[in-house]
Symmetry: D3
Subunit: 117 residues, 6 copies
């Protein structure tokens, strides 16, 4: 958000690589954990992405929201499911969530037009 | 948490009633919205409770966690599903979530022994 | 902030419309509540805008700050009143509020030159 | 809250004294600033207490809420003014504010019965 | 805090054990990481405890503060060093940190009298 | 971050000046305190910058991070020390810190090439 999809992903990948190459073992392990925790289990991968998305909304982290929106799109989350997730985030987190909803809806539209994420 | 189930529910009900009786219309409408947003829709009521629980964990609101744990128990959320939800909250929200995990697990055990919530 | 007044308002209006058109009833009700809560009552509309502004500062939401600054200007909040509001937000919320103070003062100056908000 | 008024004030005073006696100059200056910022100015002391109360609600600090409720009572804030302040805090901060509203209403009732705060 | 040292440690150990025994691998790995990250490295273990303590103060997690105060005591952090750490947390995080300073100073005094932590 | 070093410093200085010139005494005193709290004492200036940096990371304030990175560079903080500080912030604050790590590493590289900060 506040940048287009390609820029977002290019910066994200370049800097993640730099961080992982720097050799701090605890940060590396954290990054691995951050991927594993969303994989299919007792809860589906789709449900887990919605949990990650909700957490990202109420903690108001635009980059985290963008990342989980991309994953949600890959898991075939529908518009109605996205809006219900956002309605919970909004009620729990309050009106300070609204600017993040606006940017999320704008970004969701952008990635909905892409054939290839 | 930090109080048993009966005390938690008695205080909650008594004060909610006082707040609603005070006649502020906006607060009343917010309370109504706070119930409606978790009702069955494109997402199941169970998934919505897990979204509310995740939001409550990362925002570190013990009373909110207790409330959603009771609802999750009514929706037959399993131990494994609870732990996966908590693992996501922990990775997104960090180690400051851990004291809330401890109190949640303690409360979950307490309400698991109740035949009637 | 980080964008000029016209861009801010255009993006805000366009996306608010999209969100409201999407048909999620709870989000619609929340948006209605978010307007009503600032209307004249036992407290004046001006005082309520200052409460909303203080909340926006300590929660560090630049778009919310920009919105309430515009409303505060319409309610004839003086520079001295704005600075006293900011001093409370700063003491309660700490030095992490300072970057938001800088952007707020810059935006306040921008909207002070407008004859028509 | 979660403790009665007398305990709250006794612990608060005893520990504030210890902290100020420890001789850290910056902490001392911060405490002085924390008093001065609420004094009568372009905004009335009453309005400033409501700003401090709103900030305390949305940042979810029960002790801060208790302190500002005592000050608000001394400034003759009415029940309707308190509820309007809480309605703004609730809409801005979301449902995670509700447990704090409950404890605040309980505390407000307790201090309303005191002839001498 | 809000409980004495022995109760704090007994509850903490009992529930940590339950959480680790529940078999969620990601939570287990997070707990391991949470220990490792404070071990001696380019920065001393003492400095790392002060970093963890500062983070706990500004994020206002009393249990985390209590834990890091115990570790800080073991690393021979002096009263002056603790107060300087608290002064930074206070300036960065604002007056909402003050209730946590009070409880921390009370707890620090309690653990300072113990010959054996 | 999200702007280069020169722009960051120019905007920061210009607006700080405006804020200080506006004549609000409490804000002026807060700004003075915000400088003094990082000066050499029982803890070294370098350790204090790392405490300020950790607080800025977990509170997710990019401008604060940028400021403390510049100070850390002047205090000769090494790459390994920076990464260990970031690993603690990441474990305490969770994956929502990651976007700030990326921007911090990018900014650190930018200021590392400057002979004159």
């Amino acid at each position: 958000m506040s940048q287009n999809l390609d820029e977002f992903q290019a910066f994200r990948e370049k800097l993640n690589e730099k961080i992982l190459d720097a050799g701090n073992l605890e940060i590396k392990r954290f990054f691995a954990l951050d991927r594993k925790v969303y994989s299919e289990g007792a809860l589906s991968a789709k449900t887990k992405e919605l949990l990650g998305l909700t957490a990202s909304f109420v903690l108001r982290c635009d980059d985290c929201i963008a990342y989980h929106l991309i994953q949600a799109k890959k898991e075939n989350v529908s518009d109605a499911e996205l809006y219900e997730t956002m309605s919970i985030a909004l009620v729990v987190g309050g009106s300070i969530i609204i600017p993040h909803l606006r940017r999320a809806v704008d970004f969701w539209e952008e990635i909905s037009d892409k054939s290839n994420l």
